[in-house]
Amino acid sequence: MNVDVLVQQLLNGISLGGLYSLLAVGYTMVYGILRLINFAHGDIFMVGAYVAFFLVGIYHLPWWIAAPGAALATALLGVTIDRAAYRPLRNEPRISVLITAVGVSFLIENLGLVIVGGRPKGMPVPDLMGRAYSLGSFRVAGVSLWVPALTLLLVGGLLVLVYRTRMGMAMRALSRDIEATRLMGVDVDRVISYTFAVGSILAAAGGIMWSFKFPQVNPLMGIYPGWKAFTAAVVGGIGNIVGAMIGGFIIGIVEIMTVGLMPQLSGYRDAFVFAILIFFLLVRPSGLLGEPLKEKV
């Protein structure tokens, strides 16, 4: 492999990693505040992409309406999921909520199959995203340039939200101790709903950008990206937003390099990613940037 190819592969890895980062940030935010791994995150990602697909592809609305529309729809979905599936289990052991999250994930996937059918649909991609840009002899799709910008923007917004607003203060308090926060007079359920809404908006952003890069939508499209983003969040230190971004890029680059350097093993690219997940869980469960978990007594 010569240098040109290596650089192009690195660019490919960064392009893919950017998408994982965007998704992983949503994963990690919900976990950081609620200590809940929301396995339905990947499926909310799928719903976001579908809503955008319907608004643009079927109703021919412009993107500046479709994208916020999709974000709004997923925010409602996130809040609804919390109301229906997680809130009744608020005082149950954490494992119950985790299992419920897996159940919600299956429910959304199969509802998707029933409602829109199993056949993939082509996503209409705006020219700005779909066209390829040449950087010297290297090529990058437009969407790959926009994804990091969008991720930084959303992360910036998120940091302001968490550290500069009253709601953010409540979120941080919640992440320490739910009971104490409740005793201080904070409407805990409202804060949690808010958290899910924001997390779901991040998922919708990821879903739309993903379907710009790989221009199709199908009801099971969220499964693998969801797992990869979860891995990225663990690698970065789950709960840590900057860590999730870094983790996303690491996963993307590892995946591309697996294929680039060992073409015969292309079929095992997912296995490599999940081997990293297992490695981190065994050796450094707190991830690259995470703090070791303190047991609450």
Partner: protein, 373 residues
């Protein structure tokens, strides 16, 4: 879409075949189709073909109506084997049509073989599916033939000498077809400059395309299914790989064009069917009925599923019996039967059929050639 909705919701529902004017018990034929999952287009198109046939003629044999029992195999191997099991044991079908793809037939075929119930794959082109089997059939040609024709077309008609392959390693079909193409292309004097691998459902193939581009090929051969071809073509074009793309029968689905858009423009493929390729009365009637029913152009998978029904009914008639063993025996002796894709003769479980070559021009399939075996 409504139809697939119902199917996936209920999992299984029974279609009344013909009007049951006579009180005779219907003959049940099982449909083991991909109504959801990775290659849902094939199963749904196959199902459309069978419904077209129902509109065209009263499906009746030995004075008994035909009834279809549909099971969704979700484009999955294990589900396909389970579906075959269920059709045989619970529904006591006389014969099974589907799965549509080779990998699933390699799983479902042995189940039917063991139960001694004939099973026919409308479009299962991998040679292994019928090898050494008495009860497994296909309504299409086999991949050694298709791969050979593709390689000759590339080498002789297109004049290319450096081929690159992107092969879906999760599909027996793609692996087999890729090998048959590569063998013939090298035999002719061409060179395979890069072989890259992916698996079904992979979205990102930028790494593979980068490696292929670096090998400087003058044709890209992708013996995969439509969704994988479309996504790969988009990324090939984005990375500046502008060589012609050649594919197999797996390219034939509307999703290829919907997803691939401009990237698949000019794509050529070897396949089973083009509305202009066959002109016998049954073929013409099928095309007309299909257009009226679905308001779109007919496709290979529908036509081959309809052919599978015709092959089974012809066998039942010749056998004069609905015992699965007698049907299988008669199916093996199918000769010059008129179907919606010309005529069909079955040898060693395989249909002897011509290859049709098509090219995508302005989003429409243009007919290039028919190559007879």
């Amino acid at each position: 879409m409504k139809r697939s909705v119902l199917v996936s919701l209920v999992g299984l529902f029974v279609l009344a075949g013909a009007v049951t004017a006579s009180a005779a018990a219907p003959i049940k034929i099982g449909l083991n189709l991909e109504m959801t999952g990775g290659v849902a287009a094939y199963g749904q198109q196959g199902f459309e073909g069978i419904q077209t046939l129902q509109k065209m003629m009263k499906l009746e044999v030995l004075g008994r109506p035909v009834e279809f029992v549909l099971v969704d195999n979700k484009s999955d191997r294990v589900e396909s084997a389970n579906a075959a099991q269920r059709l045989i044991q619970r529904d006591h079908v006389a014969a099974i049509i589907g799965p549509m793809i080779s990998g699933s037939m390699l799983a479902a075929g042995p189940v039917a073989e063991q139960a001694k119930v004939p099973i026919i794959g409308p479009s299962t082109t991998n040679p292994l599916t019928t090898q050494g089997r008495q009860f497994v059939f296909r309504a299409c040609f086999i991949d050694p033939f298709q791969g050979q024709i593709a390689a000759r077309f590339a080498y002789q008609q297109l004049g290319v000498r450096r081929a690159a392959l992107l092969v879906d390693v999760a599909q027996d079909y793609a692996v087999g077809l890729g090998n048959f193409f590569a063998r013939e292309f090298t035999k002719l004097g061409g060179q395979v400059v890069a072989t890259q691998y992916m698996k079904t459902g992979d979205q990102d193939v930028s790494a593979q395309m980068t490696a292929i581009k670096a090998a400087n090929p003058d044709i890209l051969y992708m013996p995969n299914y439509y969704a994988e071809i479309a996504i790969a073509a988009v990324q090939a074009r984005q990375l500046g790989l502008d060589v012609p793309i050649l594919a197999g029968d797996g390219a034939d689905a509307p999703e290829l064009i919907q997803i691939g858009g401009k990237a698949v423009e000019g794509l050529m493929h070897t396949g089973f069917y083009h509305v202009k390729a066959f002109s016998n009365p049954l073929a013409r009637q099928y095309v007309e009925t299909y257009r009226k029913l679905y308001n779109k152009e007919p496709n290979a998978f529908g036509a081959l599923a309809a052919d599978s029904v015709l092959i089974i009914l012809d066998a039942i008639k010749r056998a004069g019996s609905t015992s699965p063993e007698a049907i299988a025996k008669a199916m093996a002796q199918t000769k010059d039967l008129e179907v919606t894709t010309g005529t069909v003769t079955i040898e060693d479980g395989n249909a002897i059929k011509p290859v049709v070559i098509r090219k995508l021009v302005n989003g429409q399939w243009e007919y290039l050639a028919t190559v007879n075996p």
